[in-house]
Amino acid sequence: MARDAKKLKPVKEFKPITRSDELPLDAERLRFMHETMVKARCLEERLIAMYKSGHGYFWIGGPGEEAFNVPLGMLIKKGQGPAFDFCHFHYRQSATLLAMGEEPLGAIRQMKNTSTDPYSGGRNFAGHFSKKAWNIVPVSSPIEVQYSMVIGTAMAQKRLGGDAISIVTGGDAGTAEGDFATCLVWSSRPNEELPVLIIVTNNTWGISTPYDQVQGVERISDRGVPFGMRTKTIDGNDPISAYLELKEAFEYVRTERKPYLVEARVSRLYGHSSASGANFSTVEADCLSLFEERLDKHGVRAKAEAKRLREKYAEAYAELARQAKEEPFPDGATIWDHVYAGEPGKDPLAD
């Protein structure tokens, strides 16, 4: 018999669990969260300023996603190898790295494509992190391929046992690529389910194209349902809610060793990238301002203090940018380095 699809809950209807008056996290954690969000925002704004003043060719990053990306970073078990979490990120994840404890200078150097850029040595765009010591695999420009690679690291972790998991992030538009389905298929093989936290940050845009103009899935998290996996759509603009929701998801994946598909609704505060101007959007919710309102109201952190923090980091990162500007670009001859591991770089056709 034919089944008409049940009408799915529209994306906008999900209920954030902690818009209420109580703040269910301790003040210290809230302050850390807030300060890290401020750092992330200031860092991205510095990168944008660098782009606008000609110190970098292209900017892309995550301002507007801090309320989701900071809690994400707080929950990651960082370290090297399969006993630690693997991170398959896309290009909006600076706040997550800062929450994990990363220094901001690296992002600034990458923006300026200096040889000191710790992620790519001046080779790759801003926001394209890579840090082997923390299992942060290189961010790839091709959209969505990380959803195919994550199954490999998760397999190694499943086999090892323990509680380490693989985390993958990407955008809403990218879920139209086959790799998203690949991830769902491979992470839910019977008796071979994988410990993957599959995340989609839904900002309702793919560059200039509205999500609901080109995709008919109302809740992206529903894509996991036929695969028998646990799924949810959460509020990514509320750091407290995001933290608690992510915590539940992390715990499930760590202990059950099975996939969990989480869709987080987030804002895109400076447009897609520098290609679209990188100007502040006044129509999207700003998770940082909203959070500052609440912290102030609850006496966790006064507005003035929040403002001071913003100024402090803005100035600190301007200083780092000045420092990076003095650093050298990579030498042209280095293009031959690291073509192959364990071999000196050289032009194979020079003889």
Binding site: G122, N124, P142, A173, G174, V214, T334, W336
Partner: protein, 351 residues
């Protein structure tokens, strides 16, 4: 005069109105953006696709099968590589069905370096594409050629790959497209979308004429007696400028713009090499298994005893990517100086 993006846009407008083009689509190709390089602004049949290159090529194939005339865009050729199987299929469908199903479809995609595109917005696609049978492949180096080749592409009964050198996208032509107003500002006012709200904008198309350039015909951009350079796309103007410079040194070089890579104008190459006895094949794709090597091999096999020096291939270094820093890009793909040096070296080579 129009730049290449405007020329393509005008050609597509002409093709919508006169050549039966029914669908111009791809990521961000429709309103409001009209393509990341504005090639499709204001076109009446342009629409935004899901972020899925396989779907884009598959849809184009299906549309062509159903008698429509699609022009599909891959946003950057760097993102076409998950569709090579489909491109091969499009190229063999007529053959496999023993002549039943031809696919009149155009795929267009920006290629090459020169806009600081880093690892994933700098790829060339000519080597990979010329290895795929059943397609015709073009790559203009001027707006007028882009216009004329696009008209021919839209008249073709076979799949056509239209490669657009990114670096030349904003360079104004030296020749008027028939119908184009003489004044650049006026042209821009007519056909460029305004910044800001575009919802009420419609373009005012000039009265354009059919100026189709037959596929398979090269253009001798500069006549010369001592040395031939065969090139296309971004490196063509480098060759032309180098020839002008070297003329001052008493070296008389002929420069051929191949324009169509497949099927290419063998007669034009033969005529020139028989005259000069020295030939440089110049492109910027990586140099191992490179299309210039095909041309060099054929010239060597067929014209060996006419050659005064070995045919030379100058192409991109065989590195995994083009790095973001200027120093890296300059070391990876032929620059003005490299072209001049190669021409000089070839000119003086003696047994």
């Amino acid at each position: 005069m129009a730049n290449m993006a405007q020329a393509i846009r005008m050609a597509l407008h002409y093709a919508e109105e006169n050549l039966g083009v029914t669908d111009i689509f791809g990521e961000d190709v429709g309103a409001p953006l009209g393509g990341v390089f504005t090639c499709t602004q204001g076109l009446k049949t342009a629409w935004n696709s899901p972020l899925d290159e396989r779907g884009i090529i598959g849809a184009a194939m299906g549309l062509a099968m159903a008698g429509a005339r699609p022009v599909a865009e891959i946003q950057f050729c760097d993102y076409v590589y998950n569709t090579i199987d489909l491109l091969k299929l499009a190229g063999n469908t007529l053959w496999a069905s023993n002549g039943q199903w031809n696919l009149p479809m155009v795929v267009m995609t920006p290629v090459g370096s020169g806009i600081r595109g880093s690892i994933y917005h700098s790829h060339s696609f000519d080597a990979t594409m010329t290895h795929i049978p059943g397609w015709k492949t073009v790559m203009p180096s001027t707006p007028l050629d882009a216009y004329g080749l696009m008209l021919s592409a839209c008249k073709e009964q076979n799949p056509v790959m239209f490669l657009i050198p990114k670096a030349l996208m904003r360079v104004r032509g030296e020749e008027l497209i028939p119908g184009e107003p003489g004044d650049d500002k006026q042209l821009s006012k007519l056909i460029d979308a305004p910044l800001g709200d575009r919802s009420k904008w419609t373009p005012q198309w000039p009265e354009l004429a059919d100026a189709a350039i037959p596929l398979g015909k090269a253009k001798v951009v500069r006549e010369g007696r001592q040395l031939t350079v065969v090139s296309y796309g971004r490196t063509l103007p480098l060759a032309k400028k180098a020839a002008d410079t070297l003329a001052g040194e008493g070296l008389d070089a002929e420069v051929i713009d191949l324009r169509t890579l497949w099927p290419y104008d063998w007669e034009a190459i033969v005529a020139s090499v028989k005259k000069t006895g020295r030939v440089l094949f110049l492109n910027e794709d990586t140099e191992v298994t490179n299309f210039g090597e095909h041309l060099a091999r054929r010239v060597t096999e067929k014209l060996f005893y006419h050659l005064l020096a070995p045919p030379k291939v100058l192409a991109g270094k065989f590195v995994p990517g083009i790095g973001l820093a200027d120093t890296l890009e300059a070391a990876s793909v032929p620059q003005q100086g490299d072209v001049e040096q190669a021409m000089r070296a070839l000119a003086v080579m003696q047994p």
